[in-house]
Structure formats: structure tokens, C-alpha cells
């Protein structure tokens, strides 16, 4: 176990001219342009002569579209095109699993953010005016605005062609004796709660730019999924894939919000209508809030049974997710939630059941954590309730029941790989914050209550057993003797691109200054899957490692052959050159490149991440949606909170997280991921309440949808429990999501410690906290 390097100027130990080393913090090369304001994000690309595209949105949650009147908009000076579903040649459908979302509505309006018509205009003023001139006729249908309404007898059916009605996907995972095992339990504890919709609030809103020329469609977008976008756009618009190119510059935030189509198909359609012209589209904050997918609201109901000695014996977990009107990734979110519903505990008998349900609320989709923050909110609270019942401390009950390597997780999959949850617990227990908790609790000022909370989480990495979790790396020695990494997976801010340079630099013994980076481009880079699922670095780094080995060997072999040296071991790469160790002669890489033909200077490699083979369910649909996983990261969080009894304010005073995400490639970047995930998790717990009424979004801006600012978040301390994942590149595991799974539960347990109560509805805003304090225990 090693704690993170304490922050300081990470650069000092490793000047930019030296090759980076795995395991040591390294400043991000992308910071150089970002701190100067010169990095061009997608939103910065539109030029003065660009046309601007915008969308007429439904504004009503459920209706049958009868007609759209675009006459007046078309007649407006400065309007280049007004397009409806009739102008679409392809399937007019998009979606990751079920393609059930229209690009432009052709029949049914299913949420307020549905796109009805697309306008392309000379400038933003004309665009705005034209959009306001479009009218439509529709037969309003009764709407469904909650999970309960969707499941009610006689509820309107959102997708008549879907076999299971308003249930997008349902499934159950049963292990051991399932519910029968409760008969043997000495104790039972239960909890029910609702966790809210959460909006990503990427600071760069959804945006893109496209042009149709030379019979091809070129799209640049702020996207986590350039390759999937290419396929979806081609299909929706009726083009062959080779006629579509998608590029993804650095994103101004993603977090899952750009996992899938946002502007891409619309921009493609606009560009097709105005050949030879660049067309730009930028959603403003309000449009982003209304139209983009969010974290699913979930209703959770848990029952945990224990034996007399306090060991977990049986779990019943029910989790229903409001997926909004379209599949997007709702089924996959449900599946991941169900798999993780029992947390990192050994529970021999489980029955875990859930549904993802269609409603006319905003679309539910991918958001960092992907179903796991929801279920962890319930599981970790029920664990604390159990601790109280059997008179163990929250730490004792977790140490007693946490998983060890080789055991089966609650979903029934065997944990054959690195499993550091116990060590994370031990690290927290040994930390001064934990040790000093008792003293701190006693010093609560007037009108405040203090409490401490603990929560665990585990998070699976990758796409699960069916969808290939594949990345292709491409690495080139350029004619100039530089290396070039072709990265096909988006960097939404998490720094995977920086990590790829770090890895290439380490393996090739080159300073990062000698390595160029090609960001995702479906023409130049190779398919790498999405930037998501805590798999981005894991999968690509493997492919890159293999490509680096191949290229290195080619360079060395070439030198060995030309010098008639038998043993390639006599050569080594050093910064800027290849050195022959035996003679001491050095060959500049530019010279080496000259010996080699372009094909030889390019290495390509593919890697597919390991998958779990456990048969945990007969439900093929559930399995197809990604159950179970093989590799997990683990985390244990500890929070001190103070409740102001006069105003209901909850101040998180200090926060500690101990994490097993394997070995660290660049500790500074791992810290960044943990900090950011905790911040979003605390926002989810205390601030962020995406409100809708009758499908209409009430929180339409950043003054009503509240994300935490610098004064709202505590100092955070991190501990790394660096197990070595045997299949991980350099022993690492994914860290993008695990940090967001536990904060809500951690705060819940701390609040309960302070006041003895647990709210049924989250987030725990001041209003809810004050009301909770008034409730009778």
C-alpha cells in the first residue's frame, strides 16, 4: 500500500526532455495549450462563414405529430434550409442498443426535447428567427411521468412495437436459495429510497461542425464515441459508412453525456442539405438541459438478512430505472446496476431484480457510474442499518463481510482477479481522519449536528461478456524520426491521451516532446470503442503496448540487419536515437526512419479485454446488456459532515477515499479522476436536483440546477491501495467511475450518524434536511 505522492509541482522530478516513467506523476502535455487558451475545442471551430444549424424542439411531452408548417421559416431571408423527417433518406433512427429514437420526429413525440425540424441559416440571428416561425400540429396524448405511471394498468404505450410494452428491459439475478434464505436469518433490515436525475453539465455544451464535400460527410463533434457515431449517422441518414468521417478534438467534459449521438446526425443532415458549406451547431445550456440524456432516476427497495453473528446471508434488492422515452443506454445501465446491487460483499443468497421503464421524461442515458451510484446508495445504507442492528461498528461489519479474492460477488461471478476492498477498509481505519473521528464528533458548535459516514463500492470495468471490448492502436515512426500515436478513443478531459503519450514515452524511452498525438478520427485512427466504462486506458494501453513492442523490434531489426549484427539485444532506444550498446554508435531516429519504408514504420495492434465467463443468468437479454464483469476496482469513502439545524445546510467537512484501481501509471491523473468523481458524487448527494413537471424541465439553467462550487466541497484526501491487476497494463485497473459510486451513500450514513434519520428522497437539499430534522424518529 502506498499513499499518493503529495501534490507539488509534479514536473520538477521529470523534466520534459526526459522520458516519462510509469508510476511517477507527470504533467499533462495537453495542459500546455489549455492554460494558454489556445486549445481548439469543437465549440471553438466554427468560422465566420459557417452556416448555423438549430433545432425546433417539441416542447410537449407526448403527442402524435400531424403536420409541421415550415413555410414562413423557409421564406425568411438568410435561411438556407428547413428540414423535416421527410428529408431524411436513411432509417431516421438512432440509438445504441435499440434504435428507437428518431433524428427528426416522423410520427410520435415522446419527450419535450424531441427534434421536429432542423433549420440551417446564414447566422444565429436568422436561425433564431426561423426557428420561432415553425409551427406544428399534433394530437396530444396522455403522458407518463413516473415509473409507477408507466407500469400502471392501461398506461399509454410509448413504443407499440416493443414486445414488453413500457418495460424496456427487466431482469433478475438469483444466487443460492434466493429469497428462501431469509428464513434462516436472525436479523432483517430494509430501506427504500429514490435517487434523482442528474445532469452532466459538461462546461462545453453539445456541439459540432460538419461539411459535405467530394461526396463525403465530414463531422467534427464533441463526442465520446466517434466510431459509433459514424455508424449511427451513416445508417440514420442513408449513407455508407465509408462516406462518413467523424473527428473528436479534446472534449470540454463528457462524463457519459456525450456517449452517443447529440448533434451528429442533425449536423450531418444539415450538411447534406447545404453541400460545400461548413455548418455549425452549438446547443446552449438550456437546450443541453432539455435535450441531452441524464442519469436515470431510480426507485430502490432493499432487504438484507443476517445470521446471528452479523454475517450477510440473504439480499433482496429491487431497482427500477426511469429511462425516459428512448433506450439510449437504459438497458445497459440497468444491467450494470443489477450486477453491482449487492456491493463488494459476500452474500451467498441473493435475489436482485429490476426494470428500466419508458416514460415521457427527459432521456435517461450514460453518466459516470452508470447505474452503480444508484444501487450503492441503497446497499451501503442497508449495511449501516445492519451494523446498528447487530451492534457492530460500520467498519467492523464491512470488514466482516467484504469480499476476498476467489469469492463470488453477489451477482454470482467469481472474483478471480485483484480484489483490494479489505485493504481499502484497513487503510481508512488506519487514517488519522478515521482515528480522530470521535474527538471531532464531540466538538459540534451550537446549532449543529456532526456525523461520520463510511461507504464502499466496487465498479466493473469494460463492456461485459458480449459486446467486444476492443481497441486498436496505431503507432508510427515518422520520416522525421518522431513517434506518433494514433489514438482512436476520445479524451473528454480525463487525460487518457496524456497517459498514452506517457506509456509510449516510457516504452520507447522517448521524452513526450518527441511524440505526436493524433486525436480520434475515423479516417486516420482505428476503432477503439467508446471513451467510457472505466475501460478507456485499460484497453487502448494494451494495444499501444503491443504496437510499441512491434515497432521497436522493427527498428532494432532493421539496424541489426544493416550492421550485420546478430543480436538485437545489442541495441536500445534512447531519446531521439537508437544506440548500439556494444560499439557505442548512435543512429538518429530520423536516419533510422530513412532506412524503413512507410508501411514498416507503422505498427498496428488490437487488444480485446478479458471477459467474465460465469453463467449468472439464463436471461439472454440481461447477459447481452453486459452482465457480468471480470475486473473490478474498489473504493472505501469516509466523510465528516456537519448539519446546520437552523437552515438544514450540510457541510462536508473532510473527505477521505481509499481506492484499489491497481497500479498507477500517472498518480496525478488518478488523483484527478478521484477528486472529480467525488465532487460529482457529492453534488448528486446534496445539490443536484434535476426537476421536471409533466415532462417539462423546470431547472433550465445553472442558477436552478445547482452544481457545487469551490466553496461547497471539502478538502479531499486520497489513499491508493495499489494491488497489481495481472491483466492490467502495468498492473492498472480503471478509475474513471468507481469514485462516484460511494459519495451519496457516504453522506447518507454520516447524516444518519448525526441525526439518526434517513431521507427517502434525494438529493438531501436544505429543504429536505430541515424537514427530515422535524420528522418524528
Amino acid at each position: 500500500m502506498n499513499t499518493f505522492l503529495k501534490t507539488g509541482p509534479h514536473g520538477t522530478a521529470h523534466p520534459e526532455t526526459a522520458p516519462p516513467q510509469i508510476g511517477l506523476s507527470q504533467p499533462r502535455p495537453d495542459a500546455a495549450a489549455k492554460i494558454r487558451g489556445t486549445e481548439k475545442f469543437t465549440i471553438d471551430l466554427p468560422g465566420k462563414d459557417d452556416l448555423w444549424a438549430g433545432v425546433k424542439r417539441a416542447g410537449i411531452p407526448h403527442a402524435r405529430l400531424i403536420s409541421i408548417d415550415t413555410e414562413k421559416a423557409r421564406a425568411l431571408p438568410g435561411v438556407a434550409a428547413v428540414l423535416t423527417h421527410q428529408d431524411i433518406q436513411g432509417s431516421n433512427r438512432q440509438g445504441v442498443v435499440r434504435q428507437d429514437q428518431p433524428v427528426l420526429v416522423d410520427d410520435r413525440i415522446r419527450h419535450c426535447g424531441d427534434a421536429l425540424a432542423l433549420v440551417v441559416a446564414r447566422d444565429k440571428t436568422a436561425l433564431g428567427k426561423a426557428l420561432s416561425l415553425i409551427t406544428f400540429e399534433a394530437e396530444v396524448l396522455p403522458g407518463i411521468f413516473s415509473i409507477e405511471e408507466a407500469l400502471a394498468e392501461g398506461a399509454p404505450v410509448l413504443h407499440p412495437d416493443h414486445e414488453t410494452g413500457n418495460i424496456l428491459l427487466a431482469g433478475a439475478l438469483t444466487q443460492g436459495q434466493g429469497l428462501d434464505a431469509f428464513k434462516a436469518c436472525a436479523w432483517e433490515v430494509t430501506i427504500s429510497l429514490t435517487v434523482p436525475v442528474q445532469e452532466h453539465v459538461c462546461l462545453e455544451t453539445e456541439c459540432g461542425r460538419a461539411i459535405f464535400k467530394d461526396n463525403r460527410l465530414f463531422i467534427t463533434a464533441s463526442t465520446q464515441t466517434p466510431f459509433r457515431d459514424r455508424n449511427e449517422t451513416a445508417q440514420a441518414l442513408g449513407l455508407s459508412q465509408d462516406r462518413v468521417q467523424v473527428t473528436a478534438p479534446f472534449l470540454g467534459g463528457g462524463f457519459g453525456g456525450k456517449d452517443g449521438i447529440t448533434v451528429q446526425t442533425l449536423l450531418g443532415l444539415a450538411a447534406l442539405a447545404c453541400p460545400g458549406k461548413h455548418v455549425a451547431m452549438v446547443w446552449d445550456r438550456e437546450e443541453s438541459f432539455i435535450a441531452s440524456p441524464k442519469r436515470h432516476r431510480a426507485n430502490l427497495s432493499y432487504r438484507l438478512g443476517l445470521l446471528a453473528d452479523g454475517s450477510f446471508h440473504a439480499l433482496e434488492a429491487r431497482a427500477d430505472f426511469d429511462t425516459g422515452p428512448y433506450d439510449h443506454l437504459g438497458g445497459v445501465v440497468l444491467a450494470l446496476g443489477l450486477e453491482h446491487a449487492g456491493g463488494p460483499y459476500a452474500i451467498p443468497h441473493t435475489h436482485i431484480e429490476g426494470r428500466a421503464v419508458y416514460t415521457n421524461n427527459p432521456v435517461g442515458g450514460a453518466f459516470r457510474g452508470f447505474g452503480v451510484p444508484q444501487v450503492t446508495a441503497a446497499m451501503e445504507q442497508v449495511v449501516d442499518l445492519a451494523a446498528k442492528r447487530v451492534n457492530l461498528s460500520p467498519m467492523e461489519i464491512r470488514l466482516k463481510n467484504c469480499l476476498t479474492r476467489g469469492q463470488k460477488a453477489p451477482a454470482g461471478n467469481t472474483l478471480a482477479r485483484s480484489t483490494g476492498i479489505r485493504e481499502c477498509l484497513a487503510a481508512v481505519a488506519a487514517h488519522p481522519l478515521w482515528q480522530g473521528a470521535g474527538a471531532w464528533l464531540k466538538k459540534a458548535p451550537a446549532h449543529t449536528l456532526r456525523g461520520c459516514g463510511l461507504a464502499c463500492a466496487m465498479h466493473g470495468m469494460g463492456f461485459g461478456p458480449v459486446v467486444p471490448d476492443v481497441a486498436h492502436a496505431k503507432l508510427e515512426l515518422t520520416a522525421q524520426g518522431r513517434f506518433r500515436v494514433y489514438c482512436g478513443v476520445s479524451d473528454m478531459g480525463q487525460g487518457n491521451a496524456a497517459t498514452f503519450l506517457h506509456i509510449a514515452g516510457d516504452l520507447l524511452c522517448q521524452p513526450i516532446d518527441n511524440i505526436d498525438l493524433i486525436l480520434p478520427d475515423t479516417d486516420q485512427t482505428l476503432p477503439c470503442g467508446s471513451s467510457s466504462a472505466s475501460r478507456t486506458t485499460f484497453t487502448f494501453a494494451h494495444a499501444l503496448t503491443r504496437a510499441a513492442a512491434t515497432l521497436k523490434e522493427r527498428i532494432v531489426r532493421r539496424a541489426a540487419d544493416s550492421l550485420m549484427v546478430d543480436d538485437p539485444e545489442e541495441f536500445t532506444l534512447v531519446p531521439g536515437e537508437l544506440r548500439h550498446l556494444t560499439s557505442g554508435r548512435a543512429f538518429p531516429l530520423a536516419v533510422m526512419a530513412g532506412f524503413m519504408n512507410p508501411d514498416e514504420r507503422m505498427a498496428v495492434s488490437r487488444y480485446r479485454a478479458p471477459t467474465a465467463r460465469d453463467h449468472v443468468t439464463d436471461n439472454k437479454a440481461l447477459k447481452m446488456h453486459g452482465v457480468p464483469h471480470a475486473i473490478f476496482s474498489y473504493t472505501v469513502h469516509f466523510a465528516r459532515v456537519e448539519i446546520d439545524t437552523l437552515t438544514g445546510g450540510i457541510r462536508v467537512d473532510r473527505y477521505l477515499a481509499a481506492t484499489d484501481c491497481g497500479r498507477l501509471i500517472n498518480p496525478a491523473l488518478v488523483e484527478q479522476q478521484m477528486h472529480g468523481a467525488i465532487a460529482q458524487g457529492l453534488g448528486y448527494a446534496l445539490f443536484e436536483d434535476f426537476l421536471t413537471e409533466g415532462g417539462q424541465t423546470l431547472t433550465r439553467d445553472l442558477s436552478t440546477y445547482i452544481i457545487p462550487g469551490a466553496l461547497d466541497l471539502p478538502p479531499m484526501e486520497l489513499i491508493s491501495v495499489a494491488t497489481r491487476e495481472q491483466d492490467g497494463p502495468f498492473g492498472m485497473k480503471g478509475v474513471g467511475e468507481v469514485g462516484i459510486d460511494a459519495p451519496l451513500a457516504c453522506v447518507a450514513n454520516a447524516v444518519a450518524d448525526a441525526c439518526g434519520k434517513r431521507p427517502g428522497t434525494w438529493p438531501l437539499t436544505r429543504v429536505r434536511m430541515l424537514a427530515l430534522l422535524k420528522e418524528k424518529p
Partner: protein, 157 residues
């Protein structure tokens, strides 16, 4: 109207509509895209610039308002990126997606110029008008403290 002002130490004359938003003038007409728009309503701070030495929000200003003023954007703070706050952002790992970064740096550099010895809490206050969705602010506070130390040393040296 003819608008004349000092932008990043250079005199600028542009023809513009007087009620054009300053952020649009900077980004679209003058190509200075380092000033970001995250909300358009003054809530996120991504468009923070310096006008007459004070931080202001370019999304809530009209072009005409900077007539004759001294305006500094992120591009003009130190074009080479060597301002101590910029270097501290890189060194302390305060940059993730980078979209809030220019606004953060404008706020912090302005604050530190007037407050050379800030407590961590004061740095949080200094960037309390700049929302960040990536970092949890921890490393931004670290960067602020590191920059304050560097500025002090530079001053001494």
C-alpha cells in the same frame, strides 16, 4: 460602430454592432476562443476576462462597454504560458478537460496580484465564480497556493 480599445496590450479598432455581446466579439470576430461560453448567463465564469484590471464576465457585457478600456483575455496573460498561475495549473494537475481553465486562471491571477499571501479558503473564494465539473477544485486550490509561492519568490528575486 467603431470600437477602439486595448486588447492584450495592443490597440484594436473594430467595426461592430454596439450591442454585440463582448464574448461574441472576442471569440467570433477577433478569433480569441480562449474565452469560453459555458452558460451565457453569468453563472459559470468560463468567460472571465480582465477589464480595467478587474475580472468581468464577457457574456454579460456589450461590445460598446469596453470603448477605450484595457481588456486582457487568457491569450494575453502570458502568451507563452509562463505566468506563475499558468505554470502552477500544469504543475499541480489543475487542468483536466481545460474548458474552465482560462476563466479560472484569469480569476486567480487577478486575485493573487492583489493578495499575495492567501489562505486556501481565500483561493476557494477567489474562484467561487468559476464552476469546474472535472476537478472537485482540490488541485485548483493547490495550484493557487503554488502560484502564490512562485509569485512571491519572483517578487523577491
Amino acid at each position: 460602430m467603431k470600437l477602439e480599445f486595448t486588447l492584450n496590450s495592443a490597440k484594436v479598432t473594430v467595426e461592430t454592432a454596439p450591442d454585440r455581446r463582448l464574448i461574441d466579439l472576442l471569440r467570433e470576430d477577433l478569433g480569441l476562443t480562449g474565452t469560453k461560453e459555458g452558460c451565457g448567463t453569468g453563472e459559470c465564469g468560463a468567460c472571465t476576462i480582465r477589464v480595467q484590471g478587474e475580472t468581468k464576465l464577457a457574456c454579460l457585457m456589450l461590445a460598446a462597454q469596453v470603448q477605450g478600456c484595457d481588456v486582457v483575455t487568457i491569450e494575453g496573460l502570458d502568451p507563452a504560458g509562463h505566468h506563475p498561475v499558468q505554470e502552477a495549473f500544469t504543475g499541480s494537475g489543475a487542468v483536466q478537460c481545460g474548458f474552465c481553465t482560462p476563466g479560472m486562471i484569469m480569476s486567480l491571477s487577478t486575485y493573487l496580484a492583489a493578495h499575495p499571501d492567501p489562505a486556501p479558503e481565500k483561493i476557494r473564494e477567489a474562484v467561487s465564480g468559476n464552476l469546474c465539473r472535472c476537478t472537485g477544485y482540490q488541485k485548483i486550490v493547490d495550484a493557487g497556493l503554488a502560484a502564490a509561492r512562485a509569485l512571491k519568490e519572483a517578487h523577491r528575486g
